[in-house]
């Protein structure tokens, strides 16, 4: 069953209303131009937290609403439509999922309520190079007494500059590429030996590279099972990936809508350009492709809520579909806008830029097609 529940429809409508009133694209533009070091507007994020969207996947016992992943997807889509910058995916979906699924009671109590109320920001530290490759994690965590010492680096950590705490995927044994030996750690941003450096990306959000130089943590920093964290990591990544796909569909929907609107107003050769059949068919192909992509994302989020066995393959299907579609939609957006789409004054560039960043985040289409193929045994 892939349709929204009444509750989710209400959530969508309230998100839509909120974005219109509080965070139109012009607000993002102002934030970008202000060179805000956190790369999101604090007041906007505070308002997002007050709406309860930071607690959508967090259980009520820890201050959330536990509406689930389909529900956060609905919110992320609406925010995505207006390129709203807020630390939601890394913190309220990615890191929160790691704690909900694998955290100890003490870890949950310490961080989930703060994440839910927006007073703390958590981030997922996974990548170690230019590509998403969670199978090749190398950052070393050596056993020292009852605890561990971490040495190595993480790259492109989403919302990494604003984060108060990191969920870090490290290797406690084995070689990069082997399944056994992965452990997840919960490490505060102010831990001794941990430093971070901002990275400017085209989408003007906050990314950080992290360096671990003999960062010492206790056994209580381990999330889930030490040395056998691959299954938990996969689950966390599937949830974050599906959330990214939801934002992508919102972004894509708006890129499409804006383009169609432009076709209905721009006049050339004495005619609306939308009345030319060559362009009408491009719009129709684009629309058809969107109808094929959208249900894959909804289905993946729904499957997560229902904890189905097919979550991994559905998430890979969804991410590949969303990647391919947003890539196509933003290329068409620029082309069909013509020269105006090339200017910084127009919003089209924001969509193109955010699109390419999200395509690379949590896996390209090639990555996810290969993963899908492996899962189904081809």
């Amino acid at each position: 069953m892939s349709l929204l529940t009444e509750e989710q429809v209400m959530l969508r409508d309230s998100a839509r209303g909120w974005v219109k009133a509080n965070a139109p694209v012009s607000a993002f533009r102002r934030m970008r131009d202000s060179e805000n070091p956190k790369s999101f507007d604090e007041a906007t994020f505070k308002s997002i937290a007050e709406m309860g969207w930071t607690g959508v996947v967090i259980p009520e016992a820890y201050g959330g609403s536990e509406f689930g992943y389909r529900s956060i997807g609905v919110v992320l889509e609406e925010l995505g439509r207006n390129v709203v910058a807020a630390p939601l995916i890394g913190s309220a979906v990615g890191a929160a999922s790691a704690l909900v699924l694998g955290g100890t009671e003490a870890q949950k109590k310490a961080w989930l309520p703060k994440i839910a109320e927006g007073t703390a920001i958590a981030a997922l530290a996974i990548d170690e190079g230019p590509r998403y490759a969670p199978d090749k994690i190398a950052l070393a965590a050596k056993k020292k007494g009852k605890g561990y010492t971490l040495s190595g680096s993480k790259t492109f950590v989403m919302e990494g500059m604003a984060a108060d705490v990191f969920v870090v995927a490290a290797r406690t044994s084995g070689k990069p590429g082997t399944e056994k030996g992965i452990t997840l750690f919960l490490i505060p941003a102010d831990a001794t030996g941990l430093s971070r450096k901002g990275r400017s990306l085209i989408d003007s959000r906050g990314y950080a590279d992290l360096t671990f130089e003999g960062v010492e943590v206790g056994a209580d920093a381990v999330i889930g099972q030490a040395d056998a964290g691959k299954a938990l990591l996969d689950k966390v990544l599937d949830r974050a990936t599906a959330a990214v796909a939801a934002e992508q569909m919102g972004l894509a929907q708006q890129a499409f809508d804006t383009t169609i609107e432009y076709m209905k107003t721009r006049v050339q050769f004495g005619q609306l350009i939308g009345s030319f059949q060559a362009l009408q068919h491009r719009a129709a192909y684009l629309f058809t492709a969107m109808q094929l992509a959208r249900p894959t994302v909804d289905e993946a989020l729904q499957a997560i809520d229902e904890d189905r066995d097919e979550v991994p393959e559905l998430v890979s299907l969804a991410k590949a579909a969303a990647n391919d579609f947003i890539n196509y939609a933003t290329r068409e957006m620029i082309q069909l806008h013509g020269g105006i789409g090339m200017t910084d004054a127009h919003d089209a560039g924001f969509y193109l830029k955010r699109a390419r960043v999200l395509e690379a985040a949590f896996g390209s289409s090639a990555y996810h097609r290969e993963r899908y193929a492996k899962i189904i045994g081809m």
Partner: protein, 405 residues
């Protein structure tokens, strides 16, 4: 949302599903089990044999060939959810609906909306009982994508219409008893000069000439009308108002295309399974040709997206609404992806995918059938409105893009 009612509904429908499946299993003749493809190949003619007749008779008495139609018209009189369950149960029990054809899927739903009481009583009952096969007199040599340019004329001769002209690509007309036909009743205007007429194929002056296609089969024919006398009561709706009815029927047709099984002829196994058999595997157990493997993965994922999209549309129309312009989106997607599947299959087979003629020592039945389907399904992007016509519909009716002003 009233959760209790939903739960009760679900229980009731599940009980009905079990009942329907039990009935089908108990009544579907064992000998017809593997005849599904043969049946579809023969469409729209009713196949022969006592078991065919028996199965038809049993389904007829239950009204389950048209489970959602009123009992007064020979249907099952079931509400939409139950009717859908019956149709699904045929498939799930490896059986099939013996009444299915253009009468059940195209003319019937259209007559239910536009026919008068006498027409519904007469024609729907015959369709429900499997007594009459219908064909569709739409396209003409000069009116394909530009369907409204059709020229077959029906002149008012007082107590009857006199029909003259030619139809083409008329599927199943060789075996059809009746034809629902678009005719020109006013030559001065285009869409507003078209009427929707029901013609008995046995009327003197009707001639059918089969067309041999690139697949070697003749699924459709040309139909010639020479001074064909048609009674006035066979006009559906008002004179010159047939175009609206014609378009509605096309929506039903696209919808039927989206759910049709006929296109799955040939090798129906998943592509990766077929590829491993024909091409072999590498040291990691993957399809040995890496380029083809990538394209197969991409295709299989898109096929799954298509299934999810179709499910979504089904869920959205569950409220009992008929098909909408969304059928154009689904038709284009389905047709393209289906054709890609056959292009890939023929490539996977290598030269085994290029056989012509009967299966035997050199070519397997599945290979020959796949190659035939590869050819015949090239029609998928052409029939019931080409991809380009569907794109016009999507652009204009769904996206609100205008014509030149």
């Amino acid at each position: 949302m009233n959760v209790m009612v939903d739960v009760e509904d679900t229980r009731r429908l599940e009980a009905f599903r079990a009942e329907a499946e039990a009935w089908i299993k108990a009544n579907f003749p064992e000998s017809l089990k593997s005849k599904l493809e043969e049946y579809y190949q023969n469409m729209p003619r009713y196949p022969d044999g006592p078991d065919w007749a028996l199965w038809k008779e049993r389904v007829r008495d239950k009204g389950w060939g048209t489970p959602g139609w009123p009992r007064d018209y020979g249907g099952g009189g079931l509400p939409t959810p139950e009717a859908r369950i019956v149709l699904q149960a045929f498939t799930d029990c490896s059986a099939f609906n013996p009444m299915i054809g253009m009468g059940t899927s195209l003319l019937g739903p259209t007559l239910l909306e536009y026919g008068n009481e006498e027409q519904k009583k007469l024609h729907l009952t015959r369709v429900s009982r499997g007594e009459v096969r219908w064909c569709q007199g739409y396209s003409e040599p000069g009116a394909g994508s530009d369907l409204a340019g059709l020229q077959t004329k029906a002149e008012d001769k007082g107590d009857h219409y006199l029909v003259n002209g030619q139809k083409i690509w008329t599927s199943g007309s060789r075996f059809a008893d009746w034809c629902f036909c678009l005719v020109r009743t006013d030559p001065k205007v285009k869409q507003d000069g078209i009427s929707f007429l029901l013609i008995d194929m046995k009327t003197p002056g009707v001639e059918v000439r089969p067309i041999r296609t690139i697949s070697g089969e003749s699924p459709f024919s040309e139909v010639f009308f020479t001074d064909v006398v048609v009674p006035k009561e066979n006009l559906v709706g008002k004179l010159n108002k047939g175009w609206t009815i014609a378009k509605r029927l096309l929506q039903f047709e696209r919808n039927a295309t989206n759910t049709a099984r006929r296109q799955l002829a040939g090798d129906t196994r998943p592509l990766d399974v077929v590829a491993k058999e024909y091409i072999g595997t590498d040291e990691k157990g993957r399809i040995a040709d890496p380029d083809l493997r990538q394209r197969i993965i991409k295709h299989m994922m898109e096929f799954r997206s298509l299934k999810l999209m179709q499910q979504r549309m089904l869920d959205e129309t569950k409220a009992g609404q008929g098909p909408s312009e969304f059928t154009s989106v689904a038709k284009n997607a389905r047709a393209r992806i289906q054709q890609e599947r056959e292009e890939l299959l023929v490539e996977i087979f290598g030269q085994q995918g290029l056989g012509w003629g009967a299966a035997g020592d050199q070519f397997k039945q599945e290979e020959i059938d796949t190659t035939r389907a590869f050819f015949s399904n090239k029609a998928m992007t052409i029939f019931s409105g080409t991809t380009e016509v569907q794109n016009n519909i999507i652009a204009k009716r769904m996206l609100g893009l205008l014509d030149h002003q």
